[in-house]
Subunit: 170 residues, 2 copies
Amino acid sequence: MRWDALEEEPCSMARTIGVIGDRWTLLILRECFLRTRRFEGFQSALGITRHLLAERLKKLVRQGVLRRIPYQESPKRHEYILTQKGLDLYPIMMAIVHWGDTHMVDVRGRPLLHQHRKCGKNFDPVMVCSECGEPLSAKEVHTHPGPGARSTPPAKAAPEKKAKPRRKAA
Amino acid sequence: MRWDALEEEPCSMARTIGVIGDRWTLLILRECFLRTRRFEGFQSALGITRHLLAERLKKLVRQGVLRRIPYQESPKRHEYILTQKGLDLYPIMMAIVHWGDTHMVDVRGRPLLHQHRKCGKNFDPVMVCSECGEPLSAKEVHTHPGPGARSTPPAKAAPEKKAKPRRKAA
DNA sequence: TTTGACAGTTCGATTTTAGAACTGTAAAGA
DNA sequence: TCTTTACAGTTCTAAAATCGAACTGTCAAA
């Protein structure tokens, strides 16, 4: 599987991974949400090599996640700003942060707190069902092929024969 | 920045990225949530090289995201099952899928639909504030250092001087 | 005895990434 | 005027990760 093939896959997860599914890209996006906009800003915040940074920024622009906007003529300089498509990545970012807050913090506690302007409180993000508003967990969700599924049904669920123990079981 | 250093960073996002922030790992986890459990299952579903698959599975087990459970003696065979820590990745997966559903589908529509068992409807995941229940967006959230922040305040927000246009502006 | 399923491991070739230096424009300071 | 600094990249070589394919080993079934 070549990586540009990811975006052709009939799977929204694979396609998204094709856009943001590498470590530097995710960290660059973190910086974007923390209001970093310029090449040097990203570079010094992340310690990424300039070569890779240039490449990743280009890709994010090509993909419509960032927009490259001039903020100065001669010498031409540009800022990288999140588009709406980019801003829509926020739930992914928050979900990642929240998992880290839950499972990866040390004794000192959370590095960053999030305050909701509307209600004024520090909060955790909760994922709920758009239809009934109840919190979601994997076990309560059933997936089935949609209109964009490929003929061979559920994308690529494993064939996995139903544990017919042809050998002496454990 | 070496990759094992990511998990030491005072940033829940960086730490999480250190665990799941590469393409194959994310795809392996997708398969886990689609109920794939065995080496061959992952390999044939993803087309990942066996070498990398073995390595990634080992890492996920080491990190407590998967548990390696014997399902047969002689020859010893194991299945890879999501732990609670792994199941807790569900909101991340759903957020990724949802972004793809919103921004990466072709004319044919979504490859996969999600049905909530509780209410019976196909749904989208919505991220809300744990305190007031309102949907969240980046602009409504203010971040500030928590107890686990490092001394030099907000992790690594860019120094970025306030657009003092020392040159003729655009 | 041979074949096939399964879960890996090994190894050479190819791709990516890291690290550092270099390019070019222009303002600011000596 | 000359030098330094800021900024946004590009170029180059070495090191690391990944690919692709073959190989290992156990056991059941044909």
